[in-house]
């Protein structure tokens, strides 16, 4: 059981809330309080837009414990438009092929349940192909 960890991480997990460095404007995700660019303290919360593109990806057929129900699934490195690269599952692919450079957007989804069906449901960010605006 990791209830306290799930609770502590909820803001960054649900909504991609990271940090911005007040000294050099670098955007940090995940939040780590020290700016990797200039080495100074960076604790100002920053809401990422959720937009980015696929930097690299792979499909998982042998999932780690807790993720069996979703297999096979695709995990990607996403380059956020603000700069940082995050690792996340891709979702809502349907029959759409994934390519490097595919524009994606953040959605909040069920990641897994903690333990069995009696445990808490863990929610967090995933990315899906950017929704096409077709209606005029």
């Amino acid at each position: 059981m990791e209830i306290s960890r799930h609770w502590r991480l909820r803001k960054q997990r649900y909504a991609l809330v990271g940090e911005v460095c007040p000294h050099c404007e670098a955007k940090l995700f995940p939040p780590r309080d020290i700016c990797p660019e200039c080495g100074q303290e960076a604790r100002t919360l920053y809401q990422f837009s959720g937009r980015g593109e696929v930097y690299s990806y792979t499909t998982v057929y042998e999932p780690p414990a807790g993720y069996e129900e979703n297999a096979p699934y695709t995990v990607a490195l996403i380059k956020l438009e603000e700069g940082p690269i995050v690792t996340a599952q891709l979702t809502d692919l349907g029959d759409q092929p994934v390519e490097i450079g595919t524009p994606v957007e953040m959605v909040t989804r069920r990641l897994r349940q903690d333990g069995d069906e009696r445990g808490m449901i863990v929610y967090g960010y995933k990315f899906r192909p950017a929704l096409a605006r077709v209606a005029a």
Binding site: D92, G94, R133, V134
Partner: protein
Amino acid sequence: MNDVNNNLLLKPVNPVGIVGYGAYVPRYRLPASEVARVWTNGQTALPIKEKSVPGLDEDVATMSIEAARNAMSRANISPAELRAVWVGSESHPYAVKPTSTLVAEAIGAVPNVQAADWQFACKAGTEAMVAAIGFVGSGMARYAMAIGMDTAQGRPGDALEYTAGAGGAAFVLGPADESLAIIDATYSFVTDTPDFWRRAYAKYPEHGQRFTGEPAYFKHIMEAAQALMEATHTSAADYKYAVFHQPNTKFPQRVASMLGFTKEQIAAGLLVPVIGNTYAGAAIIGLTAILDIAEPGDRVLMVSFGSGAGSDAFAITVADAIRERRDRAPRTQDYIARRTLIDYATYARYRGKITMK
């Protein structure tokens, strides 16, 4: 109907409107013909073309979060200004633990906020809307969010399995002068009627056979719509659009015709043929599709229906702000166009109908 007077109308002290709205429909679609193929050898008249099916990682919380984000994009207010986040559904992910706190946390509306889950079968969403109108209209809150969202399930092979879809909408209610559509008035008509229910721990609902049509759906929608129109001195011809709870294609078409509305008036909001019955989301997602194309001055009649039973009727007038706000988020038809067909086996897996242990 003679005893209907203005006292029955629900009208807030301060005028209230819709400041932002957002829809959500999952990507996957199950054709009704697939259900018929598996259970009746294809020998069934199909109530709709296809229904929306949520992915493995979706539920009412995740779907509500996306609709809420769309509504906030259109409203363009700080989430810290919301004083309520209310989610109406009959498929909340937990039996005990609110969906609304998770949604409020995800959109940044915590901690200075009311959060609660509403339950009234398919009208839980409009029930939350009426409460939000009161919350804003009384001056207790400047903005309140009401959501209706469902991932309904029908027993395999049951008539409801053809139509039980997934989707819904979120609304930010706020002061009328900041709104993209004004709530002119609402009226609710409620009785204790045993047309449909699901007992605690039961996975699938039961329906009261002959109770589902005339004494439930038609009776409550007709009474609510007629009383609202009478009290607001309007008739069907005054409305550019109308949307009714849509459990299948025929019911809303028939009730519209009984009330004097034409096919053209209900076309924009009639989404059940292509996404199924989204329960608490059904009437209100139709409203989002209407707002996507409506022009300032257009009047809209919306009447929900929830089993058990009751209807909430809304008279709405579209305002100027609709033009600049509607494209700040995806339109409902964008979600409908994003569509991947699945077969019954994939559907059974996605809906947890395959036992793993």
